[in-house]
Structures are given as C-alpha cells and as structure tokens.
Symmetry: C2
Subunit: 215 residues, 2 copies
Amino acid sequence: MSGRAVRADARRNIEKLVESAADVFRERGLHAPLEAVAQRAGVSTGTIYHRFGSREALIDAVVPAYAEEQLDRAAADAMACADPWEGFVRYVERVCELQASNLALNDVISRNHPGTAKLAEVCHRSQEQARRIAERAQADGALRADFAVEDLLFVFWSNAMLIRFTAGTAPDAWRRSLGFTLDGLRAGAAHALPTAALTPEQVERVMAGRGRAPA
Amino acid sequence: MSGRAVRADARRNIEKLVESAADVFRERGLHAPLEAVAQRAGVSTGTIYHRFGSREALIDAVVPAYAEEQLDRAAADAMACADPWEGFVRYVERVCELQASNLALNDVISRNHPGTAKLAEVCHRSQEQARRIAERAQADGALRADFAVEDLLFVFWSNAMLIRFTAGTAPDAWRRSLGFTLDGLRAGAAHALPTAALTPEQVERVMAGRGRAPA
DNA sequence: GGTAAAGTTGAGGCCGGTGTCAAGATAGGG
DNA sequence: CCCTATCTTGACACCGGCCTCAACTTTACC
C-alpha cells in the first residue's frame, strides 16, 4: 500500500528507544522518568512522544511481549514438574525471581503500573496459568485447600515491597521471606482463615487502580 | 524566666495544626502534602513552617507519642497473655490493625518515613519489645526456632503493601494474608530457610533509607 | 488607644516530572 | 544536487509539592 512508511533514521531511533526503555524500565520500574529513556537513547523526550504518543504506549511496545514470554516459561516449567507441589513452589519462586531481577516485571506482577491494555491481558493470561498450577497442587493434597489463586497476589505484593526496600542492601532477603510464606501454604500448616479470598471483581478493581489507599 | 513566650492566637493555631496534622497523617500517611494540613487547620503553609520549621519537626510533634503509646500497649497486652504463642499472635495482629487503621502508623511501622529522631527511637524501643515477645514464644516451642525479630519487618512490610492496595476495596483482606503468614511461623510448619535473617546493621541501613531500590 | 513585638499571609522561586509545538535539521527520491 | 516530506529538537507551559520572605495584620502591654 503506502510507500516508505518511516525513514531509515527514524527506524533506528525507534529501535534505540525500545532498547533503552527496556533497560531503564528494568532498572527503575515502569514509573521511571521518560527523560531517562530519551537520554539513554541519545534523543530528546519530544521524540518519544512523537513516536509513541504516551508513556503507556511506550510500555505497551516494550514490556508485554517480554513479560508474557517470561511468565509463560515459568508456568510451563512448573507444569513440567512431576511433583505438583514442587511445580507450584518453582513457579512462585521463579515469578519472585523475575520481580527481583527486573523492576519492570516487578511492577507488572504486583499490578503497580499505569493500566495498559496489553499488560492487563498478560496478567489475566498469567493468572489462568497460575490457577492450573495451584489447582494441581491442591488436588495432590500438598497445597492447602483454602488457598485461592487470588491469594497469590498477596505473595507477589509482599515480595514487591521487600524488593523495593532491600534490593540495595540484601538482594536475597526475599528468599527468606518466601520461605516463611511457602511454609504457611502447605496443607499441613493450615489453620482456619479469618476472611474469604478476594473475589475476582475485587482483584479487578484493585488492578484498575481504584481501591488503592489515598496516599 | 522569659515572659509571654507565645501569643494566645498563636497558641490556638499550633493546637489546631497539631490536631489537623494528626488527622491528615492518619488518613493519608506521613507523605501527605502539608498544604492539606494547613487547609484543614484554616491556616497557610507558611504558618506551619514558621511554627515547626519542617515536615520532620511537625511529624515529631504529632506522631511519636501516639505511636509509642499504641505500640507499648500492644506489647503489654501480648506479654499479659498466659500463652506465649497466643501473645505473639495478638501482638502481630494488633500491630497490623494499627497499620490498617492509621496510615501514619503504617508508615512508621513499615519504616516508610522521613527519618526523624524521635520516630527512630520509637521504632527501636518497639523492636526490643517485639524481641521479648518473640523469644518467649520461641522458648515455649510454638514459634519456629529459626525466626528472628528482624523477620517481623517482612511481615509488616507485606502488610503495609496489602493495605495500600486493598484499603479501598477489601479493608479486611490483610487478615487473610496474615493468617497464611502466621501458619508459616508455627514451629510445626518449619522447613529449612534458604537465607539468613537481616542483620541489625542491614535493618539500620534500610531504616535510614539507604538500601532502597532506585525507583 | 498607641505602638512594638509577635504572628500570618500568599506570591514566588525552586524542583522534577509531563506533554506540546514552532522552528530547524536531514534523508533520500527526483 | 536540490527540494520536500519526514523527523527531531529544546524551549515552554503546566502540574503538584516544597520552602521562604517581605509585606501586612493582630495582640497585648503600657
């Protein structure tokens, strides 16, 4: 149809921006100033807006594919585990590792990001995979029966916080915390819980950014 | 010695400011804009700076006494419990309740505040109380032996995050999460942990705001 | 009720960050 | 080689929040 859509130099800038954004978001999270992205790409912020239109669009161009790939792999590895509990543990550990190693993924996984359509889709897909992993471990009797997939959010939120506070001081601290948490999720550890799990609707509201505390 | 130190109208303004600050900090956390405090007190922000000099000083005038009182009570109630595990659980629950009901305390307890001297003192004192409560439960064989007081920070950080995200949607959700956590802290649930606890020095660094992730 | 000391105000400078747009630079087809 | 469509730039207006200070208002002592 149309002839030359975008000039060669523009093409290069876009590629450089995508690379830089991936780096900056990985190192500083999805709220990193776009100025930092522009600078690393050797370009002005105006160019970002000209090419992508908004921070959200830039995120959409950079993060979801990678996030989906990583989360899919984590889920596949978990399901490949012969022992269902082992698979569940591997999955949770792997996801927490992703949070620790990539602050962009940390924001995605803990739902702490500007709502972009693609990212919401990735989260949803990932949650369905998690559901299967958890149900398999429950059917096996290893994961406590009153656990709900929605409770995984608690685990990942907690981990996100830990990482924020300890990344510079004790980058492995989260593993210890996760150890306690997993011990609480074994069927043998279960004591009655005081409250029902979040409903999918509540998760929805939280994801949408409503339902946050004012601060 | 000196005659009239502060004029009657000023006195009134100071009182009003202290009240307003307590309210605003409770509702919005210690990072709330001072503009909000001034407005609620019917005063301009200049007055706050004239009277207190800085946000830190205002916090020091408003928060530590209340925080200390609440935390002391929680600790005393816990030690008054005949059963050490029961006491430990009550303590942790009570502290989490404080976090949920007062965002200023949430910031104090999760160490998410501008470093003020008095607040640091309160935290330190509170940690020593927690240590006694935890050690009693460990001596009784109910709390797992590899738990360290420093690990309580994990619990409170996690809770802080949960509250931030769910306060507007499911204000009791944290109780469920805490249920899982406590189940993981019982001696019977213990499996080997992958990492040592934070050292007091690491906690110090984190409290001082160094050791935070860049974002 | 005058006056000096005490108090308050709010505009204004600062910061870091977002998003825009007129003006200038450059690629690359003719 | 030129000319135009394409692209980039960076200064700018804007935001929310911090903190200051010269000008103004009020108290309360005499």
